[in-house]
């Protein structure tokens, strides 16, 4: 199963006079790991927010395969197979499994009536998806924690739960917002392996925002650089690292977060 390409064309986002994104275009090829980097305030979060439907675009379009995502609500976009993680982890109260099951929401169907009446098909749907959520938890390395309440878990584990939850949506495109922020070196290496496993095993396209340059350059097939809402460079990691525009934007360093 290959994901369709994500084609972003001349995307512009404005907030009351401030231009967060200015005419940005990029393409995430099927099965690609695409890095999105740029100094703070460059518009990376805004970019993610527009793609996931949280922000309204002032101009431009976002197409995922044949589907036009630009003006859709977030929950509609989820049904097209676009999942995202959040920089500041947003998990709901409850166990890890409960959080993962929330991720299954868009691909399950049991509504209020069926659930209230405990109809057999609704019950078995829940059971089936719990099993799958368990498999995804194992894949991401959360096997030991499935029943633990998320509030007591260490930060690194919570980050993984955030990731696993997004995977539970069985996405074709995964938007990762700073997946290793706040992690120590060992955790970063582990997460880096997990991310490349996701692409290798599941064939999911990944759009990755990160400040950890080493990680991005190692993982990404292609990198796009934003600065002040504009796309200033793009290409392979090597090419981008040597691009004078990029160096200027970062003031000469490929600094870690």
């Amino acid at each position: 199963m290959t994901a369709p390409p994500l084609v972003v064309d001349r995307l512009t986002v404005r907030f009351a006079g401030l231009v967060a994104l200015d005419d940005v275009s990029l393409t995430v090829a099927p099965g690609q790991i695409h890095g999105l980097i740029g100094p703070n305030g460059a518009g990376k979060s805004s970019f993610f927010n527009v793609i996931s439907g949280v922000y309204r675009a002032a101009a431009g379009s976002v197409r995922f395969g044949d589907a036009e995502l630009t003006s859709l609500r977030p929950d509609r976009i989820a049904t097209h197979g676009v999942a995202r993680t959040f920089q500041n982890i947003v998990l709901t109260k409850g166990s890890v499994t409960e959080n993962l099951m929330l991720g299954r929401h868009s691909i399950t169907r049991a509504g209020f009536v069926a659930t209230a009446l405990s109809l057999p098909w609704a019950v078995s749907e829940q059971a089936r998806h719990r099993v799958r959520a368990g498999e995804i938890a194992e894949f991401v390395g959360l096997g030991d924690y499935v029943d633990a309440p998320v509030d007591v878990l260490p930060y690194g584990i919570r980050k993984r739960v955030e990731l696993a939850r997004a995977l539970c949506m069985e996405p074709r495109l995964l938007l990762l917002d700073e997946p290793v922020a706040g992690m120590n070196t060992a955790e970063r290496v582990a997460m880096s392996h997990t991310i490349s496993d996701i692409r290798a095993v599941l064939g999911i396209s990944i759009l990755l925002v990160e400040h950890d340059m080493g990680l991005v350059m190692r993982l990404a097939d292609e990198v796009t650089v934003l600065d002040f809402g504009k796309r200033i460079a793009g290409g392979t990691p090597d090419a981008v690292q040597r691009d004078p525009e990029v160096i200027r934007a970062y003031l000469g360093t490929g600094r870690d977060a």
Binding site: F15, A16, N49, V54, R73, P74
Partner: protein, 295 residues
């Protein structure tokens, strides 16, 4: 024609009194992020004090004392709210409901089934001009409320207090980070809301109302729709909403007979009907702003 003009005048007078309450909601919302559901009982307290004190202190003296007292009680309520463990919207709102229940219980006991007079200087006298008759109390309320509202907007626009109010974030967490200044600002908002409420009830319990009774405080509830219609947290909106509600109520009362198909007592529900109508068309209120974030 004269009926119409009378209705409009009465409506504006009523609306300007509602505005006093609605502006109170606005500052409390800006400062504390919650709706004060205790406004009706605080208002009733003010009315009760005026009723009890006007013989000794005269109407204006009693009103002054009452306004000070309601301001103080509102501040106490604010301080009590600070003690709430959960700071989310619903919890704070429910705390104000709890406060209201408690205060109302005591005030109902004090007032019992009495109908009290507030001893206002206008009584049931009327003013006549060009064939139009308006109660003096209405004219007085327009005048007094007008002055207070004007003072409010001037302060809001041109003083440092007003600047701080305008700049205040609705994010309660951020407020916690901003220290003492913020807290004093918040209390000032509550105090002003309390004081304005006392003035409001002084007019609401005057002619043509029979006087102050247990249920007079419920009139404050009509100001909720006013604040919502204008867009929560927006003083101009609160004013517009209040005037709109006042005029609609007056219209419903005046043309009640023509509208008898819809039942009697229409003026009581006029504020709510208007609010529902506005919200269906503009969920953020007439002057409220739509957020860029779609969720």
């Amino acid at each position: 024609m004269t009926t119409f003009v009378q209705m409009v005048i009465n409506g504006l007078a009523l609306g300007s009194v509602y505005a006093l309450i609605a502006l109170g909601f606005t500052v409390i919302f800006r400062a504390a992020g919650t709706m004060n559901f205790a406004q009706s009982s605080v208002m009733l307290l003010g009315g009760l004090l005026v009723a009890r004190l006007h013989e000794a202190l005269g109407f204006w003296g009693a009103l002054l004392v009452a306004a000070a007292a309601t301001a103080l009680v509102s501040v106490l309520e604010a301080l009590l709210l600070r003690a709430a463990r959960k700071r989310d919207l619903a919890s704070l709102a429910i705390m104000t409901i709890g406060f209201n229940t408690l205060l109302l219980a005591e005030l109902s006991r004090q007032i019992g089934s009495d109908v009290l007079s507030l001893g206002d200087p206008w009584g049931s006298r009327i003013v006549e001009f060009s064939g139009i008759t308006v109660a003096q109390t209405r004219v007085a309320s327009l005048a007094v409320a007008g002055v207070l509202i004007a003072a409010f907007f001037l302060a809001f626009r041109f003083t440092r207090w007003g600047l701080a109010m305008r700049a205040s974030a609705l994010d309660v967490e951020a407020a916690a980070l901003m220290g003492i200044r913020r807290r004093r600002l918040e209390l000032s908002g509550w105090a002003i809301a309390g004081g304005l409420a006392a003035v409001a009830i002084a007019f609401l319990a005057a002619f043509p109302s029979q006087g102050l009774d247990q249920t007079t405080g419920e009139v404050a509830l009509a100001a909720f729709p006013a604040a919502i219609i204008g867009g929560l947290g927006n003083p101009a909106g609160a004013l517009v909403g209040s005037l709109l509600i006042g005029v609609t109520e007056a219209a419903a009362a005046t043309y009640q007979n023509d509208l008898s198909l819809l039942g009697s007592g229409l003026s009581l529900i006029a504020p709510y009907v208007v609010m529902v109508a506005v919200l269906l068309v503009r969920p953020q209120g007439l002057l409220g702003t739509r957020e860029t974030s779609r969720v």
